[in-house]
């Protein structure tokens, strides 16, 4: 039995610890905002936030859910794009993406939102330039083919 918090709910599953979080998110939990793209950790469409309890609070990082074994979730906090805005509003990152026209077809946008949110949550002094280098650091998010990209300064 693996127990963790999924967005704002306690969640338990009997699924094997080696199965991937993406399948649990999309099939068992029916949260389809997280997208399945390449399923091999390249495209980042499936990016979610994983929060670990630390001595001084929670620490969040953006991870590819297609490569995330369920065992990693035990006792942690999994946040999907649905969990960013429980009151149905937009998060600041989402608002910026809308205002700057950074979403085109939109399929990978949830992953981009989660990656940028992970960056802002895990960085004490965010800078305008650094988010551009986020994907390599976090091994997640960021293939561009149909999409435009957020302006540097935003």
């Amino acid at each position: 039995m693996i127990s963790f918090i999924l967005n704002d709910q306690q969640f338990s599953t009997e699924l094997p610890p080696g199965s991937v979080a993406l399948d649990l998110i999309r099939k068992a939990a029916r949260l389809t905002g997280t997208k399945e793209g390449c399923r091999e950790g390249d495209c980042g469409a499936c990016t979610v936030l994983l929060g670990f309890p630390q001595q001084d609070g929670m620490k969040y990082m953006a991870v590819n859910s297609c490569l995330l074994p369920l065992g990693e979730l035990q006792g942690n906090h999994l946040v999907t794009v649905e969990g960013l805005n429980p009151s149905k509003g937009y998060s600041p990152v989402q608002s910026l993406i809308v205002n700057e026209g950074a979403s085109q077809c939109g399929f990978c946008t949830p992953g981009i939102v989660m990656s940028l949110t992970g960056y802002l949550l895990s960085t004490v002094f965010p800078t305008a330039e650094e988010p551009i280098f986020l994907p390599q650091k976090r091994k997640s998010c960021g293939i561009l083919n149909c999409c435009s990209f957020p302006e540097n300064g935003e």
């Binding site: 009997e14 390249d42 950074a102 998010c141 083919n145």
Partner: protein, 282 residues
């Protein structure tokens, strides 16, 4: 994983309603199977599935019937018919206020014709024009390069939504750059199977690949072109700006290795670039 047993025999409410009822009763269940009670001796049942589409294994009509029969008399009968059509809903307010919930339009570009026998005519209403100025820096020892800036003037006609069009030009530029620098189809010499068949081996541009500076200007072009609201296609034409990157890299190569005239071949990957830098120029 749960296998749900249908508790009530009388489940002839249609497939979607049956599943929906069961899903609601057990939150977060994933149905992997359905089990039914074995009908007793007096029960007769039959079902039919009718599929009109040869290559799609979805029945357009499903029917099911169950009869409880004793001594030649039908005591109970359940009938069900369903299909893949959506469930019709009656929308009171929109019906009352006569609001149409759909709209559609067709646009036939005026003045297009083509005579196949003469192979002459006017098959396109307009062409899309544009230009890109590309700057690259090439590391002559390693063959690696960076894209310093791309400055584009693009003719969108009259842009319907400049924010969307700008995004399409940025995305098109990046896709074009990917084609000429990274994306390579590699086939096995023995089996001829495609080797670069996943994003791990067929690398496409990521956010790092965006040139340090991208400037985009729309060409002021308000002349009549025959497009919708005088707009022009913006999805694919900007791919062509990637070609600028190819030639900028080629010029940088000539600067480092004078006299070399490599055969035209894309993508100009760093691997290829390194070999070309080392190649003698005769």
């Amino acid at each position: 994983m749960n296998i749900i047993t249908v508790k009530d025999d009388r489940c002839f409410t249609g497939a979607s309603a049956t599943v929906r009822n069961m899903m609601d009763s057990e939150v977060f269940n994933c149905i992997e199977g359905l089990a039914f009670r074995i009908p007793d001796r007096n029960t007769r049942f039959n079902f039919e599935k009718v599929s009109m589409r040869k290559h799609l294994d979805i029945a357009t009509v499903n029917t099911a019937a169950r009869f409880k029969v004793e001594n030649g008399k039908i005591l109970e009968a359940d009938l069900s018919a369903g299909g893949v059509a959506p469930v019709p809903l009656f929308l009171r307010e929109t019906s009352r206020d006569r609001v149409s919930l759909s709209s559609q339009a067709h646009y036939a570009t005026p003045g297009l014709y083509f005579d196949k026998s003469k192979e002459k005519g006017k098959p396109f209403a307009y062409h899309v024009a544009g230009t890109a100025l590309t700057e690259v820096t090439l590391d002559r020892l390693r063959g690696t390069y960076s894209l310093d800036s791309v400055k584009i003037v693009h003719d969108c006609g009259t842009s319907i939504n400049p924010l969307i069009d700008r995004g399409q030009i940025e995305g098109g530029l990046l896709q074009g750059i990917g084609w000429v620098t990274l994306e390579e189809l590699k086939y096995s010499n023995e089996t001829h199977a495609l080797l670069s068949d996943s994003l791990a081996t067929y690398k496409i541009p990521d956010i790092y690949f965006v040139p340090d500076e991208v400037q985009i200007e729309f060409l002021e072009n308000l002349s009549e072109n025959g497009g919708v609201f005088n707009s022009k296609a913006v999805g694919e034409p900007p791919f062509m700006y990637g070609i600028g990157t190819y030639f900028a890299l080629l010029n940088a190569l000539r600067e480092c290795n004078p006299g070399i005239e490599p055969e035209y071949s894309t993508p100009l990957s760093t691997e290829k670039m390194l070999l070309l830098l080392e190649q003698s120029s005769n």
